[in-house]
């Protein structure tokens, strides 16, 4: 019964082992870090699950090869490519969709398919929805891309079935004659949208599978792999990316906070507390086994964030404000200033407990950020910060500047920055532009970089993590 864990269980088929190794290769190409020990674990896991149960195999690989939730999507996409659910047309496969129940695939036209989809969306059974997606791709997704060469397209399927136009109809059915336009409708709408998205994702996955079958996995692999969330460029992030980033930013802010307070921990113990030591020694018969110390006064870091929220860096600004709001919950003493061509304090919009989306729109609407023409003016903003808020920066302050340093050829305000950097404990500049573009065109980075402790390229969450964990001194 009991087997030594060192001994490899016999592999089901060597062909599968090759597949697995290729799969691991693909994961590594996509940026996942998979060690050889983990590959061995995956093989052992593969050996003990039922290889005919595809979801078990997926779970076995996921538990051994994919250990970050952010990588899961890439993992799933690649798994579907390397271990496809079926080959060929789904209509011929057993257990596949059978509209008229006569045991054969049967002929159905797009109208019927649309009706079936409507029913499936109403019932919400994920199995049926996935089957329909496969069916739909087989029927509608094929087109000649070039003469003599076929290809598969997601948009063809979605355009012809157009699930979004079913919403009104579905809503009516789901709500019955119940009241419209209120809570019930909102919930029903949400449920339907969720199911439609499920269908769309299933269609996309099926199109990828068919493409991979026709042209080989390698051709498809490059298109499937989206950059991992931590590598998405801030300046090009989509809405989904931003949502994912937000999930990653909160832990980072916490880490930033602990890094800045790290010194407190090292020197936790101050002078000997004689009275408490003697008191504690009573428990051990007068022998002072444990010495007690007075707590040292903790170093309270103060953080001033100074961020560019102009249009040219708008998605970076979105991210920046996210970071500010996360920091606000960690630091008691954080002050945030935003600027476009003049600057204003925005700390008040981010008091803990307030809604982030609200705060952001308020910053844009209410804060006094535009003075002249609404194009970035670092020079003027630095001067305003220095003049209007002279008490913000003290020798205890860490100053964090976030922006691309594109100054529209205006005066740099280097003196103001220099003065503030001299006063602050540390000054860091996080720049969302790639380093090779620094100083090109209207970028004044060359002027600013020598004035701060460090200017760091910070284009994605990965680089921010590196800044927080390795560059930032305690």
């Amino acid at each position: 019964m009991s087997e030594s864990p060192e001994r490899e269980p016999e592999l089901p088929r060597t062909g599968l082992l090759d597949r697995e190794v290729e799969f691991v290769g693909a994961l590594r190409r996509a940026g996942l870090i998979v060690s050889s020990a983990e590959t061995v674990d995956a093989t052992r896991a593969f050996g003990v699950v039922d290889i005919l149960d595809r979801e078990s195999v997926r779970a076995a690989f996921a538990s051994t090869l994919c250990k970050r939730p952010a990588h899961r999507r890439t993992f799933d996409n690649l798994f579907d490519l390397y271990f496809p659910i079926a080959t060929g047309d789904p209509t011929t496969g057993e257990g596949e969709f059978d509209p008229d129940g006569d045991g054969e695939g049967g002929e159905i036209d797009p109208e019927m398919l649309r009706e079936l989809l409507r029913q499936a969306l109403l019932d919400g059974d994920p199995e049926t929805i996935a089957k329909l997606a496969r069916q739909a791709v087989a029927m509608l997704g094929r087109a000649d891309s070039q003469p003599g060469r076929q290809s598969w397209f997601t948009y063809r399927v979605l355009r012809q079935l157009n699930p979004d136009t079913l919403i009104a109809d579905l809503l009516a059915q789901m709500l019955g004659d119940g009241e419209r336009d209120g809570f019930a409708e909102k919930i029903a709408r949400q449920t339907i949208n969720e199911r439609i998205r499920q269908f769309e994702e299933a269609v996309e996955a099926e199109v990828r599978r068919r493409l991979a079958e026709d042209r080989g996995i390698d051709a498809v692999e490059r298109n499937v792999i989206k950059p991992l969330a931590e590598q998405v460029d801030f300046l090009r992030a989509s809405r989904d990316d931003l949502a994912e980033m937000r999930r990653q930013v909160y832990p980072l802010a916490r880490r930033l906070a602990t890094r800045l307070t790290a010194r407190k921990k090292v020197e936790q113990q101050g002078r000997l507390d004689f009275r408490r030591t003697v008191r504690a020694s009573l428990g051990t018969g007068g022998v002072p086994l444990v010495t007690l110390h007075k707590p040292k006064k903790p170093h309270k870091p103060e953080l001033v964030v100074f961020c560019d929220v102009s249009g040219s860096v708008s998605s970076f600004a979105h991210f920046t404000l996210m970071l500010v709001s996360a920091l606000r919950e960690q630091f008691s003493k954080v002050r945030a200033f935003a600027f476009i061509d003049t600057c204003d304090e925005i700390t008040r919009y981010f008091s803990p407990g307030l809604d982030l989306a609200d705060a952001m729109s308020k910053v844009v609407r209410e804060a006094d950020l535009v003075w002249f023409d609404g194009h970035s003016d670092y020079g003027h903003s630095f001067e305003v910060l220095d003049e209007r808020f002279p008490d913000a920066i003290t020798p205890k302050t860490s100053l964090l500047v976030l922006g691309d340093g594109r100054n529209n050829y205006r005066a740099s305000g280097a003196d103001a920055l220099k003065g503030m950097a001299a006063r602050a404990r540390h000054t860091y500049w996080l720049n969302p532009e790639p380093q090779h573009q620094w100083g090109s065109g209207d970028s004044a980075t060359r002027t600013y970089a020598p004035l701060v402790d460090r200017m760091i390229e910070c284009r994605n969450v990965e680089q921010l993590t590196e800044f927080v964990t390795t560059l930032l001194p305690g």
């Binding site: 019964m1 009991s2 087997e3 030594s4 864990p5 060192e6 870090i33 060690s35 020990a37 983990e38 674990d41 052992r44 896991a45 003990v48 699950v49 039922d50 149960d53 979801e55 078990s56 997926r58 779970a59 076995a60 996921a62 538990s63 051994t64 994919c66 250990k67 939730p69 899961r72 919400g124 994920p126 336009d181 209120g182 809570f183 019930a184 409708e185 909102k186 919930i187 029903a188 949400q190 449920t191 969720e194 832990p251 916490r254 880490r255 428990g283 051990t284 018969g285 022998v287 086994l289 407990g353 307030l354 809604d355 982030l356 989306a357």
Partner: protein, 293 residues
């Protein structure tokens, strides 16, 4: 060098896992059942990560119950050290022993005596290793502990043995089923992740959540359970500070039942929203977006 404790699988198959966890009151999906099966079969620690309240601790309790194992729990917190996690000498008792010793007693005898079993305080990790019966070792909220604790865990979890300088090496005669949980408040070290099987527990699918509600609160009418789950999913789709967890879904069902409400409408949701959303800003947002009031 040393013989690693043997693995004694408790589950026969993935289906067996699902069935037995189900009997213990835990509805497992494919991924959960397979990963638990693998952790059992391969004798590897299982690292479960996910938001608060999705049933991470619950799962390990269910594993313990379904294998009739005893659960030993190590709750992690900032400042947790070896003395609290592994073992500690009982200084006070040792001191008493020294003072009680008569002058003519040889020092050697006393020395051997005070570093014996009687004076050892066994903490969760050591207790789990020393047990001969089936054991589930739950190391809860690893992310809360300091990085040094991870080093300690690496050592214990790779060999399942502990070296106590005065006593020698204690090896596990039987590997405990180890579960580590984390809320991902910080990234755990690659080394620790590498040694574990990884399971990311997220909010369940609509069907599974409904099944969970029905199994936990059997008196709830199916229609209401469906409505609850849909509403919860709508809430999770919003940008909230704290999305409602499964635990809160169940609480909500219980609350509604206790209040005798059998359909969800504007009024009943508004009055009971505090059960699922625990930040004022979240409540305001939900009321706005769900067009309540």
């Amino acid at each position: 060098m040393s013989d690693v404790a043997t693995v004694q699988p408790q589950f026969a198959s993935v289906a067996d896992v699902r069935e037995r966890l189900g009997k213990a009151g835990y509805l497992a999906d494919d991924a959960i059942a397979t990963t638990v099966f693998l952790a059992d079969r391969l004798g590897k620690p299982l690292l479960i990560e996910g938001p608060a309240g999705v049933g991470k601790t619950e799962l390990s309790k269910a594993v313990a119950e379904s294998t009739s194992a005893e659960m030993i729990r190590l709750q992690c917190y900032e400042g947790l050290d070896e003395a609290r996690a592994l073992y500690e000498w009982n200084y006070k008792k040792q001191l008493l022993r020294i003072q009680a010793a008569k002058a003519e007693d040889a020092w050697d005898a006393t020395h051997d005596d005070i570093f014996g079993e009687d004076f050892l305080l066994s903490r969760p990790l050591l207790s789990a290793i020393r047990r001969d019966d089936a054991t589930v070792l739950l190391i809860d909220e690893v992310d809360k502990a300091d990085v040094e604790v991870e080093g300690l865990l690496l050592e214990v979890l790779s060999d399942f043995q502990v070296t106590i300088p005065e006593l020698g090496t204690v090896s596990a005669s039987r590997r405990p089923f180890v579960v580590l949980t984390s809320n991902a408040s910080r990234e755990l070290s690659e080394a620790l992740k590498r040694r574990c099987l990884y399971l990311h527990l997220d909010y369940p699918t609509a069907e599974r959540e409904k099944a969970i509600v029905l199994s936990r609160v059997p008196q709830v009418p199916e229609q209401l359970a469906e409505q609850i789950v849909r509403t919860i999913r709508a809430l999770r789709a919003m940008e909230l500070k704290k999305a409602p967890s499964i635990a809160e879904t169940i609480d909500w069902a219980t609350t509604l039942l206790a209040l005798g409400i059998d359909t969800l409408d504007e009024e009943s949701v508004t009055t009971t929203l505090g059960v699922v959303l625990k930040h004022v800003s979240d409540q305001i947002r939900a009321i706005g977006e769900l067009k309540l009031s």
